[in-house]
Subunit: 329 residues, 2 copies
């Protein structure tokens, strides 16, 4: 690993190009100068590998080419996938990412938003668990999965549609008695619509269904107990289960196998998210796949191109079913 | 989501405290002023929730409280775990994280290093695939897993020790004919030592062993073919396999099961990394666990507290074995 010299300054560019400092500044800021001057400056910029000091630029233009991204953590594969895609989109548009991990703490989220604003980021993309989150009007914000009432654009999967697709798939595969299982935050957010879609499709098809919904912090054994209560003569009451996440679906499959009930022969299970083993291998279970790349692209477009008056208040992007071994097809 | 007013400035603090702007500046920069002035400024800072504009501060002090973190991507769970831990350590020390994902591209890595330097980060933590990486002497750099020759501190797991622990565990579990399997970059890096540790322990114990090592880009089916070539009368030649990552270990277990060979009854497998399903559930396989939190803490300590003359050139942190279903114990 060798050393480079200290980074070139605008003065170095002016010297190399043989022009005045003001001319360099104009070219860099896109202000017209004589063609030959522009060419000389651009050649000097390329030769010296000069880059604009974005801290100085941030002070002058109020733009820092930096977007803050706020998620609970990176160890949950869905959040990691999402941040990875948002990073790619920002990078394609020559923007940097300042990452904040909130650990689901509403107070920390509010702190981070204030911090991001003070640091003059060009926007904030947040997956928030703070329904009272306050943001300055001057900073564009896009929310993922939490609808804040219209003035903050929200980007989400079509969670309602996903719930319906899961029911349709289970029905098509022969299931006639369904259960929906969820663990998660009590707060209103878009993923709640997975349940609504599930109920809607069951009722349309006259399929009997049962809901097992518990709050964050409940031990997972609550689901095991629920399943045990619904076994009669060695058979589970349900032949199809839709779980709010892939993570829960895999736990449920594990409990059932431990109880001697076969997946997918006796019970078919569909999760939600579409995460893959090790990030790039097979799906953990049959699943409703969230369009993570499209969600990331939409967030970044809304942040960087928004015209506040015209931004949609909610964008739901289409999901699709993928087979992952816990259903018959 | 309500609006806040625009963030308070140093002038607002001076007005609130009833002191001169210079006094506020002194207090913020830790320069002594009269006790009553200091108290008034601190009270005004607290009341207004004033935060230092770190872009302005970055220009003046050459410190931005920002550390750049460079990894190939976030979808690989080991990288995601590592970034998550580094984030926590930086956050505990009131530093922000600027994230760069390099997608294993050496050119992009070099670009990012130059970018990070120009943006006056306080340091760079990188997991690099560019053995020619050039960095300015003015920016502290810590490398994860790649040793650059001494002047750049390198933090890594005890990969050599991990290879030995894997062999010892397989031997203890009754294995007497071992294989080591690896897919990865041809470049010299610390994880190569997993193989060296494996060989060292096999030779010490006089255990016969076979190596199957392929470069990145080789199709995984090469491993399946290798396994098939080593089946005689329905039995695999090896009774224990050590794989360079958990990801490879799970693929190998899948191939073997597909061939009708039982894991762990006929063959025991140990991976490396210690990643968990969905980030917080069980291990994917029996594994050598990397001490991710300690690695992150060490990187951050070396970056923020380093005294260039005294930084160690290589810090290897202890690993440990964890049972994950692909061994007998």
């Amino acid at each position: 690993m060798a050393d480079t010299n200290s980074p070139p300054t605008m003065k170095d560019v002016a010297r190399e190009a043989g022009v005045a400092l003001g001319t360099v500044s104009k070219v860099i800021n896109g202000i017209p100068v004589g063609e030959s001057y522009r060419v000389r400056v651009e050649e000097a910029v390329a030769k010296l590998n000069y880059r604009v000091n974005s801290y100085a630029k941030g002070l002058k233009t109020n733009k820092t080419s930096t977007v803050a991204v706020m998620v609970p953590n990176l160890v949950s594969p869905f959040f990691a996938m999402l941040v990875n895609s948002i990073y790619r989109e920002l990078s394609n548009r020559k923007h940097r990412m300042l990452l904040f991990a909130t650990d689901f703490d509403p107070t920390q989220e509010q702190e981070y938003v204030i911090l991001a604003e003070q640091q003059k980021v060009d926007g904030i993309i947040c997956l928030s668990y703070n329904p009272e989150l306050k943001v300055a009007e001057s900073v564009p914000v896009v929310s993922i999965d939490r609808y804040f009432g219209g003035q903050i654009p929200c980007v989400s999967s079509d969670n309602f549609g996903g719930g319906r697709i899961a029911v349709e798939k289970l029905y098509e595969n022969g299931c006639r008695n369904l259960a929906f299982m969820r663990i998660g935050s009590k707060l209103t957010n878009e993923p709640n619509k997975r349940k609504e879609g599930f109920i809607s499709a069951c009722e349309m098809r006259n399929i009997p269904y049962t809901l097992k919904i518990v709050d964050d912090g409940t031990p997972y054994s609550a689901f095991e107990e629920f399943l045990q209560e619904h076994v009669n003569d060695g058979r589970l009451d349900f032949d199809g289960i839709f779980c709010v996440t892939d993570s829960l679906a895999c736990r449920i499959a594990g409990y059932l196998r431990g109880m001697g009930i076969r997946v997918p022969e006796d019970v078919q299970i569909i999760g939600f998210d579409g995460v893959r083993r090790f990030g790039d291998q097979e799906y953990f279970c049959s699943t409703i796949v969230q369009p993570v790349d499209e969600m990331a692209r939409t967030c970044v477009e809304v942040i960087l191109e928004r015209d506040m008056g015209r931004s949609p208040s909610l964008v739901c992007l289409p999901v699709e079913y993928a087979y992952g071994g816990t259903t018959r097809s």
